[in-house]
């Protein structure tokens, strides 16, 4: 144990476990999220559903807008930078953001290299579709992983696919013999040490959340039962009829994700869920950005 930022940054992710991280675009939404029991908020100018609808290049949010949200709440505040855009990440670090999401929701700035996150003091969370992507991001310095899902759709299918793929690969790695790990590291394009960790511990070396398409308490419970350690909800809350009530219901669903009777109660009278679009109906697959 040393006073190293990476350990401390992984530790902060551990404190977020069992919690819900909510996308917010204004200080008022941030306060609603905190009141409803969000364990952190993601400060964004536009939520993914609107980014998707608006099209065009989407970038890091205005630091002033992010600071407004930092002032409004006492819980950790996260913000997104574009994949590979280390200058945006430097700016977010300068305003003392609690976590940077190097996110496929924004337009990628680099189609080959992700940010070298080991050079930063603030923590990073990155999206991953499978174990290989997750371990590559961790090797670059990510201290938390989330599924990519398909942001802004309200469709859970991709998050489920990514979480199932990750969990099934973790089980497979756990069953390999030691000498098989070398070749598997090569074929997954990941460092041997990280693969060995997965083999020995039967889990990722960092906290793993679900993200992308969570819209209901049932969606959140599904992801938790599939092995997520917490949930990001993007468009699902503030694109719905009664954000405060839905947010609070999703928070409780994450805590008691195996209690179906309670989940039934929580799912009652939530008003309209976000409309959503099916994955076949969209042209832009954000999950395909950054591998």
């Amino acid at each position: 144990m040393s006073n190293n930022r990476y350990e401390l940054n992984k530790n902060l992710a551990q404190m977020l476990k069992g919690g819900v991280i909510m996308d917010v675009t204004t200080p008022e939404q941030a306060r609603i999220a905190e009141e409803a029991g969000a364990c952190a908020v993601m400060a964004l100018e536009r939520i993914p559903a609107d980014i998707r609808a608006a099209g065009g290049v989407s970038r890091m949010s205005d630091p002033k807008m992010i600071k407004g949200i930092q002032d409004a709440v006492s819980i950790p505040v996260m913000a997104k930078c574009r994949i590979g855009h280390f200058a945006e990440a430097q700016i977010l670090q300068a305003i003392e953001i609690d976590y940077i999401d190097e996110s496929e929701v924004l337009s990628p700035a680099d189609d080959k290299y992700h940010i070298d996150k080991t050079g930063f003091d603030v923590p990073f969370v990155c999206g991953a579709k499978d174990l290989g992507e997750a371990l590559r991001r961790i090797n670059e310095g990510a201290s938390m992983i989330r599924t990519k899902g398909e942001p802004g759709t309200g469709d859970i299918i991709q998050a489920v696919r990514h979480m199932r793929s990750m969990q099934s690969e973790i089980r497979r790695i756990g069953s390999l013999s030691e000498d098989e790990l070398f070749d598997t590291a090569k074929s997954l394009a990941v460092p041997y040490d990280l693969l060995k960790y997965v083999h020995d511990h039967k889990k990722l070396p960092v906290v793993n959340f679900a993200a992308g398409g969570v819209a209901t308490p049932a969606d959140a419970a599904l992801m938790m039962q599939l092995g997520a350690e917490g949930v990001f909800v993007g468009s699902g809350i503030f694109k719905s009829g009664d954000p405060a009530k839905r947010a609070s219901a999703i928070v409780k669903a994450v805590t008691n994700y195996t209690d179906a009777a309670l989940l039934a109660e929580l799912s009652e009278d939530l008003g309209e869920a976000m409309v959503g679009i099916n994955e076949q109906e969209i042209d832009l697959l954000m999950a395909e950005r950054g591998k």
């Binding site: 144990m1 919690g19 029991g37 969000a38 609690d98 994450v254 805590t255």
Partner: protein, 191 residues
Amino acid sequence: MQIAVLALQGAFIEHENMLSKLGVSSIEIRQKKDLKKDFDGLIIPGGESTVQGQLLKELDLLSPLKDLIVNGMPVFGTCAGLLLLADRIDNDTRSYLQTMDIIATRNAYGRQLGSFYIESEFEGIGTIPMTFIRAPFIKKVYGGASPLATVDGHIVAARHGKQLVTAFHPELNNSLSVHEYFCNMVNGSDY
């Protein structure tokens, strides 16, 4: 001995792992009906105090837990757990169990860039690792509470009867000593 760990949100599994290394079994409290299980002590883990506090209220756990603690159930709170037990939080209008004679300062070291690790003295144990994550500290102890550890002039651990709190996270490091200290409080071998 069986210890209940409040498992609403945060790093509760880490506490369960520490207890299991000490050979102590644990159960999780996620809702009111879990209080019917048998337990001799309670751990309130790190996480976000606003989340755990809100869930305590909405799941009707706040007053039953408060009654248990007031009636002598040993309790150990780390970080957010410290805030939930504090009589008052000086920079937050929210208050929760309010069973301990301490005034706490929330996010006392600032945002994540202020998080740190140090090795420091803990009364009755010696030098131990201490990890502070967006941590609070104790601004003041009074009445039945007394300090157990101080870092940079701020109280970071305290005890009030059978209540123990740390602003840092013993569950994140390898030393089992603080959990052992708590288990001794529970089985009464500290007196």
